[in-house]
């Protein structure tokens, strides 16, 4: 059992109530507890899954030490989380989402990219005040709402739809969205392909959209980008009914999977981030057959209101789908394209395959690969003395994958086994700050482990 799983288990066991609830709710959606990294799915039971979501109020932690008042979708019986649960379903499923609203105003859920969404059994519709037909009607919600909580009785609405197209989708509030979405009422919906050429480890119904999955070495990752204007949140906290003047909207924080760096690289369900369950570290092995024949997959989502040009160092993402549609012509021609900056617009999703390949054979000093063997390929540069380097906390003090060089005295490295850390970050660089704390915000790393077997803690 690895350390993270142990932590999660011990936390669970220390909370008898949670255990009791989880045993009572057998058969209801649960978040997978095993994987500390990668997409952490909340999967429904069987085919045609049902999800019971509630609206909750809570706080998140930000990289400058601030905390932020938020609203969010959470699983019934569990507390506030940000962002909302990652709902994973299969193509063809009839998905039912029941929303129980504990907020003092109407709330709804939009499912952009899904068609024929029903609300309480009839087609979901925008709501108007006063109701149509009326000359003065104005839309007050983009879709059917759950009533506000009144006299401690929550409002309830039930949505359902057939998830007929695989891909990555957002879900978010359609009611007062400039307020409710920014307060945190959003999440991720993943539809896994079940058609010919698809499968749970594919992005689409195409053989070539298969990504690496093998136990905890799943290389399926989430990059959900969003932003926060603290004044808007404080205004809602002070008086939920008051309308924040959106002309004054000015984000001061930008987040990846609901966290800012360095929190972003902590495990899923990190104990010190009790309301921000989703990490963003991408741990991979070098690409290449036979050991590692498939690339990894990243699902990008923009839940903010600005453009996010996200830049993974060291690889061009191959964009194979956008907004839940595979990039191919009707004739089946491949029209995917590569990007070293993935420019995700507000409300968009991009499905990207990626890999890191040991192109120059810098894995030479693998313990199983004796120095001086024919594939020994040293970097043709003199490695500077430590005094001639300004080094970082992830540095292995060696150019070679799987090698840890001599560290200076009193230095505490976070490098464990000579693995590489290659950064990914938003390249609108004013967005990788947190109201004065630089080099925070939407930053994460691709951790490249030496090929197996290696000396890394698994």
């Amino acid at each position: 059992m690895n350390k993270s799983t142990f932590k999660q288990l011990s936390r669970k066991l220390a909370t008898p109530l949670a255990v009791a609830i989880s045993s009572l709710l057998t058969g209801l959606p649960t978040m997978a507890m095993a994987a500390p990294l990668g997409v952490a799915c909340t999967s429904g039971a069987g085919t045609n899954p049902s999800f019971n979501l509630t609206t909750q109020i809570g706080d998140i932690q930000l990289p400058d030490g601030n905390t932020m008042y938020m609203w969010g979708y959470a699983l019934q019986g569990q507390g506030f989380q940000h962002p909302g649960p990652v709902l994973c379903v299969n193509q063809g499923d009839t998905v039912t989402v029941t929303l129980t609203n504990n907020l003092p105003e109407k709330v709804s859920i939009m499912f952009p990219g899904q068609t024929d969404v029903l609300a309480n059994g009839v087609p979901a519709q925008p709501e108007f005040d006063p109701p149509l037909p009326n000359a003065g009607s104005r839309a007050i919600s983009l879709t059917t709402t759950a009533p506000a909580q009144a006299a401690s009785i929550p409002g309830v609405v039930q949505y359902s739809f057939v998830a007929n197209q695989p891909g990555t989708y957002i879900y978010e509030s359609g009611t007062n969205p400039q307020k409710q979405v920014r307060m945190g009422l959003f999440g991720t919906l993943i539809v896994r392909p079940t058609g010919t050429g698809g499968g749970p480890d594919h992005l689409y119904n195409r053989e070539d959209s298969r990504f690496t999955t093998a136990g905890n070495w799943d290389e399926e990752f989430l990059v959900l980008l969003s932003e926060i204007d603290p004044y808007q949140h404080w205004a809602v906290e002070a008086n939920p009914a008051a309308n924040f003047n959106f002309n004054n909207y000015k984000p001061r924080y930008w987040l990846i999977n609901g966290r800012g760096f360095p929190d972003s690289i902590a495990d899923n369900n990190a104990a010190f981030l009790p309301t921000q369950p989703y990490g963003a570290l991408a741990r991979v092995h070098p690409y290449g057959a036979p050991a590692h024949p498939y690339p990894g997959a990243i699902r990008y989502l923009n839940l903010g209101s600005e453009d996010y040009p996200f830049h993974p160092h060291g690889n061009n993402g191959s964009v194979v789908g956008r907004d839940g549609r595979s990039l191919e012509t009707e004739a089946g021609d491949d029209v995917s394209f590569e990007k070293f900056v993935v420019p995700v617009g507000p409300g968009q999703t991009w499905d990207v395959m990626f890999s890191w390949h040991d192109a120059e054979d810098y894995n030479i000093r693998n313990p199983n690969d004796p120095v001086g063997s024919p594939d020994n390929n040293p970097v043709d540069v003199n490695i500077p003395q430590i005094a001639n380097q300004f080094f970082g906390q992830f540095y292995s003090f060696s150019p070679y994958l799987g090698v840890q060089g001599q560290q200076p005295p009193n230095w505490s490295t976070l490098n464990t086994c000579g693995e590489y850390y290659i950064i990914s970050h938003n390249h609108a660089l004013n967005q990788i700050t947190s109201w004065g704390a630089l080099m925070t915000g939407p930053i994460t790393y691709m951790r490249v482990d030496p090929p197996l077997p290696n000396s890394c803690a698994q």
Binding site: K3, V320, K339, H357, N388, G392, G436
Partner: protein, 463 residues
């Protein structure tokens, strides 16, 4: 600034990374979309550097009026200049150590402190084919205006595939170059196209302060003949990306307050970021039309190497205020020629570059040709996804390769002029009459008027 070093970030210590894993079981399957590089022989080590860059600070000139109270022009600016920058200089051919006293640094090099240029020197590299390892030495000579800062610098080649941290210049996953030190970056680029480079130390600040340049990789197909061309953007096999002339267009931005803050020992609040000046190759219109500073032909095989004075400083051009902005954005060509424009954006905002009167054909994005995969999934020779447009919209860190064919000359004397400008007028309008920022001209001369380019961005003398 040093007080924001990531390695000193203090709210809490980073977590020890704990993961769990199982051995991966391999399996047969289609290997598509993740192209492996062409396998080539190893390079010979210990060759001299192809380029020698110095990282330091300096001053440039942006339109002094209208003023921006407190911040622009900067009251600390020397005569002719307005704006404090960090940047690079190309000192290729000058040894870092003093030939007369090898234990000391070369005064010609140290003397370039406070003499950075913007944008950074344009350079280009041939696709790696086995022996042409590219070596770039970076020396950090420190900051003259801010001796209190001991910022390191680095070269991050933005978009380089399969990079190792050691040569990536990202200082948390590897290291950067402290003041007074030199480091050799090794590049074996296997993917042709247009890229960028910049310092990655505290990059919110160092990128915005001007340590930004454009780099591109020439395809191995160059020199062969396809479709009547011998120069190409990509290994297209058919000449579809062939061109006669090429011009790099690097887009950057200046927020006057942040530049002022760096000169005056202050910290800006980056979420207040805005664009006061939008720059094309380090200049704003109409300075973009001023000629390139002359280049040194002998050392311009891999970079636009601006001529230097005896003390190593950049040569003073006809417009002395543009001494540290040596690169023009003017495009000149003959009617009927194909011209490749290499766009890259290292500002923080989207740009929308419009060319009036001539369609551009987009042949590449982010150093990838506009082709889908072939049926076997082994090469990008499948469906042609190139397209024509007159407006290229692209965000921070993106690059575009666009080719236009110069239309016939309309007759009469002088060139036909077409305007290339950022249609996002709020970033193209820092002077009156809507003229400013990222705007330049494409001047089309009658066929045979101007001779061939010897290096990129050159505007040969008009006959």
């Amino acid at each position: 600034m040093s007080n924001n070093k990531l390695s000193n970030h203090g709210r809490r210590r980073f977590l020890k990374l704990a993961g769990s894993g199982l051995a991966i079981t391999g399996g047969a399957g289609l290997l598509r979309r993740q192209l492996l590089p062409i396998s080539d022989a190893m390079a010979a080590p210990d060759a001299p550097a192809n380029l020698f860059f110095v990282g330091t600070d300096g001053w440039i000139s942006l339109p002094a009026t209208p003023t921006i109270p407190t911040f622009h022009p900067d009251v600390y600016a020397p005569t002719n200049f307005t704006t404090y920058i960090f940047g690079f200089r190309n000192m290729t051919g000058i040894p870092p150590m003093d030939p007369a006293a090898p234990a000391n640094m070369n005064p010609l090099v140290i003397g370039q402190k406070n003499k950075a240029q913007h944008s950074a020197p344009l350079f280009w590299v041939d696709e790696f084919t086995g022996s042409n390892t590219f070596r770039l030495d970076l020396l950090n000579v420190g900051l003259a205006q801010r001796p209190d800062l001991t910022d390191s610098h680095s070269i991050h080649w933005h978009g380089f595939r399969n990079v190792i941290p050691f040569f990536d210049g990202e200082p948390t996953g590897s290291f950067a170059v402290p003041v007074g030190r030199v480091f050799r970056y090794i590049f074996k680029p296997r993917d042709p196209g247009t890229y960028m480079f910049h310092c990655h130390v505290e990059d919110v600040e160092h990128v915005h302060m001007g340590m930004t340049g454009l780099v591109f990789v020439r395809p191995r197909q160059n020199g062969q003949s396809f479709g009547g061309f011998t120069k190409f953007a990509y290994n297209d096999g058919d000449g579809s990306t062939g061109y006669h002339r090429e011009f790099a267009m690097l887009l950057t931005e200046v927020w006057a307050e942040s530049h002022w803050c760096d000169a005056h020992i202050q910290l800006p609040e980056w979420s207040d970021y805005k664009v006061d000046f939008a720059l094309l190759n380090g200049r704003v219109y109409p300075d973009t039309l001023e000629p390139n500073s002359p280049f040194n032909a002998a050392t311009s095989t891999h970079a636009y190497d601006t001529q230097r004075q005896a003390d190593g400083d950049l040569v003073v051009p006809a417009r002395p205020d543009l001494q540290y902005q040596p690169l023009s954005a003017l495009v000149t060509c003959n009617a009927g020629e194909r011209v490749l424009l290499r766009f890259a954006n290292l500002g923080f905002k989207e740009a929308s570059m419009t060319l009036t009167g001539i369609k551009m054909k987009v042949v590449g994005k982010d150093a990838t040709p506009m082709r889908g995969f072939n049926a076997a999934g082994t090469a990008r020779t499948g469906a042609d996804t190139s397209y024509e447009t007159n407006t290229l919209s692209f965000g921070a860190g993106e690059s575009f390769d666009a080719i236009f064919t110069a239309p016939p000359h309309s007759g009469g004397s002088g060139p036909d002029v077409y305007i290339l400008y950022n249609r996002a007028y709020n970033r193209s309008d820092n002077q009156i009459n809507g003229a400013g920022g990222q705007r330049t001209e494409i001047r089309v001369y009658p066929s045979g008027t101007i001779s061939a380019q010897t290096i990129p961005n050159e505007n040969p003398t008009v006959a």
